[in-house]
């Protein structure tokens, strides 16, 4: 442990204690109002999308059992069958029957290819567009989006990460204020930020003042730039509690039939929460669905996972569309890599990691759906057309939002970075 680590620990501890004492909030130092607002933003393209919902399939989603069954040999599909979709000429795996009915909104990204074959590195590249290094933490895509496009609602965080490991939503060198606000259980919303019922409002204000005084004292004693960032924690948390916008976090406000449409799984409810947040102006919501690492028994594990994805994704697309929000909301399904075309019989028909070729999808956000971009060979093992890297994928999302993909942000160490590194947006999706 070096000095920085100790420093980090005491700072967190302190904030944690004060915040908990005052508010019952678990550490959430991200609601900084000092962020840029959307008013400073000049979109780079007309009718730019306003928000992103990024559904991250963590573990490495098997492309051959989900998004890329078209023209594939039976020997690589194994037990998985293809079904027709609402878009003429496009097929999906039978594991995604409800999504198939929303295909008119979707463009399959079947030319995906990455260089990273390990989970952590693969996810890092997918979510941050840079290769993992020991010396720097690159900001998550959500952090970039809030940094470049600003917040649309100052009463809410710009970036929320649902059921997502806090590390993968970290603002990296942009600092904590650009990190995704973590929501563990979507069904419970921001429960922690409600005033503990045992405290009446008068008491509560008093405790808050006390905490505030402690905090000011702390500031005069220690001048660590990291702390300044957190200085508006109380203001923000307080605003959050009183603000009507907070109801965005409460999925219990949804009518039963809508809630059921998304499925009762944590992921489904996360998708529902994502819709509510975007409706209230949150820029970027990531919802993670784990369990795709199907080395063993792929043909039992994938259908189970896919059911959660299918319920959540199809409901999300349908719901966003009928509200007229899908044009303004880009929905992306990403994963760190694919899985082998070879079915490994010694592992009860499992599939191993496969970075060379995989699949993602993009829907809404101004793209034309009912299509696919990129193509693999009939074994699903090589991209033969429309090769798309994680950087290209993220550049495409940035392009949809009208971000300037060339805008350089310097790290504190003085090095230049851009939102999708050298990724090129797939502009064809938008015509």
């Amino acid at each position: 442990m070096n000095f920085n680590d100790t420093d980090e620990f005491t700072r967190r501890q302190l904030l944690c204690n004060i915040a908990k004492a005052a508010l019952g909030v678990s550490v959430a130092p991200m609601f900084s109002s000092s962020l840029a607002t959307a008013a400073d933003f000049l979109p780079n393209r007309p009718k730019a999308a306003k928000s992103v919902i990024f559904l991250m399939m963590s573990g490495g989603m098997s492309h051959l059992d989900t998004l890329d069954v078209m023209g594939k040999k039976e020997s690589v599909l194994g037990e998985t069958k293809a079904i027709e979709t609402s878009a003429k000429g496009i097929m999906l795996s039978e594991n995604l029957p409800k999504t198939a009915k929303q295909m008119q909104h979707i463009c399959l990204m079947n030319g995906m290819s990455t260089t990273q074959g390990a989970h952590e590195q693969g996810q890092y590249l997918m979510q941050r567009s840079y290769t993992m290094r020991g010396t720097i933490v690159h900001p998550a895509l959500g952090s970039w989006v809030v940094r470049l496009a600003g917040k649309r609602n100052n009463n809410l965080p710009g970036f929320v990460a649902v059921s997502t490991d806090a590390n993968s939503a970290a603002g990296g060198f942009m600092g904590a204020k650009y990190s995704g606000v973590p929501i563990g259980e979507p069904g419970q919303g921001l429960q922690d930020s409600m005033r503990p019922s045992s405290i009446n409002e008068g008491d509560f204000e008093k405790r808050l003042k006390l905490a505030d005084a402690m905090n000011k004292q702390f500031h005069t004693q220690i001048t660590n730039p990291g702390i300044r960032e957190h200085s508006s924690l109380y203001d923000d948390a307080l605003r959050l509690m009183r603000c009507e916008d907070l109801k965005a976090f409460d999925v219990k406000k949804e009518p039963t039939e809508i809630s059921e449409m998304y499925g009762t799984s944590r992921f489904g409810q996360g998708c529902l929460l994502a819709r509510r947040l975007v409706e209230h102006g949150v820029r970027f919501v990531q919802v993670t669905l784990g369990g795709w690492d199907t080395h063993y028994d792929n043909f039992t594990a994938v259908p189970a996972r896919a059911k959660n994805l299918d319920d959540g994704l199809s409901a999300l697309l349908k719901d966003l569309h009928r509200r007229g929000m899908l044009q303004d909301t880009l929905v992306a399904v990403g994963t760190e890599f694919g899985r082998t075309p070879e079915i490994i019989t010694e592992h009860q028909d499992g599939r191993d990691h496969y970075p060379k070729a995989f699949s993602c999808l993009i829907a809404g956000g101004g793209i034309t759906g009912g299509r696919f971009y990129g193509k693999k060979d009939d074994k699903g093992g090589n991209v033969v057309e429309g090769m798309t890297t994680p950087m290209d994928f993220n550049a495409t999302i940035s392009y949809a939002l009208g971000l300037d993909t060339d805008q350089v942000i310097m790290s504190p160490s003085g090095r230049p970075f851009t939102v999708a590194d050298k990724g090129k947006p797939v502009v064809e999706l938008f015509s």
């Binding site: 007309p46 102006g281 007229g324 009208g402 947006p425």
Partner: protein, 311 residues
């Protein structure tokens, strides 16, 4: 059965096949124009052959720059694009391209294809021709943004004070793009505090507003009268408000309106009658309203190419 489907699919072109410059436009121009409009070359006689009219078509940058007379390709605007103007002249005209007797004129489907490509923003895809640039994709938006600009013709700068005022009410207010005089206004935060009274603050900006989001605010038909004075409005969201048919009737003059989201409102079939006359409407969202499915179907018919959704 399913396997057969898959087999056929191999012949479905991927999405990039739809108006790809490289595949659909370049071959046409290459055949009909390239010989006379390329980089200066030395002929067999040792003489330098300059591109005709100073106009080169061997790279996106040259095509966008145009020739000695001006325009080559004007993204979004075929009528201002030299290449389109000249292929559309009567074949006998002295400016017609390719010049009389120097090649086969392009056919109508071919000229339509070129027109469509320009209309779509003249995207060169990954073609860089003789450009030795690193970037293979045209700068996002550079072409696209000009498409909105005709709408901004004759427009003055949005009043800064009025923009500030809206900002103080919690609205997000920003320009539709770099150097654009069009603005986007969205009430997303604390929307219950926004009602008909606040709509008055939109008046000074009525000419500039091209997108307006009033969803979940407390506005009524009264406040909608202000919205009816926004000639450049292309996108309007009044979902979750108390607006009724009377409010929608006031939108009749919005000839540029392309998207209307009005789910969970008080509108009914009477509003559909108003919408039928708005020929630029392409997307209409009427879920959770009293609009019947037969009336929605009629609307879709009255507006060719549109999508009207009620569920």
């Amino acid at each position: 059965m399913i396997r057969l489907g898959i087999f056929l699919l191999l012949f479905v072109p991927p999405v990039c096949a739809e108006l790809s410059f490289r595949r659909q436009i370049l071959p046409l121009l290459g055949k009909a124009c390239a010989d006379c409009h390329k980089a200066p070359t030395k002929g067999t006689d040792g003489k330098v052959q300059n591109p005709k009219g100073g106009f080169r078509m061997d790279a996106p940058s040259h095509m966008l720059k145009g020739g000695s007379d001006g325009s080559g390709v004007e993204p979004g605007d075929p009528d201002k694009s030299g290449i389109y103007q000249r292929i559309m002249l009567p074949t006998g005209h002295e400016d017609f391209m390719p010049p009389k007797g120097k090649g086969t004129p392009l056919s109508f489907p071919q000229t339509e294809l070129i027109k469509q490509w320009i209309l779509e923003g003249a995207n060169f895809g990954d073609w860089i021709g003789s450009d030795i640039a690193v970037a293979v994709v045209p700068k996002p938006g550079a072409a696209g943004l000009r498409k909105v600009d005709p709408l901004a013709a004759g427009l003055t700068e949005p009043a800064p004070d009025a923009m500030k005022k809206l900002g103080s009410l919690g609205a997000v207010v920003y320009r539709a793009g770099k150097d654009s005089k069009l603005i986007i206004v969205a009430f997303v935060q604390s929307t219950s505090l926004i009602g008909d009274k606040e709509m008055e603050h939109l008046r000074p900006l009525a000419a500039n507003i091209t997108e307006l989001d009033l969803s979940d605010t407390k506005i009524t038909d009264v406040g909608m009268s202000v919205v009816g004075t926004m000639p450049r409005l292309t996108k309007l969201n009044i979902s979750g408000t108390a607006v009724t048919d009377a409010g929608v009737a006031g939108l009749k003059g919005l000839v540029n309106l392309d998207c209307l989201a009005a789910h969970s409102t008080g509108v009914s079939d009477a509003a559909v009658e108003t919408l039928k006359s708005m020929k630029k409407l392409r997307s209409v969202f009427l879920w959770k309203t009293r609009v019947t499915s037969s009336s929605a179907a009629e609307l879709q018919k009255a507006l060719p190419g549109s999508s009207v959704s009620i569920e």
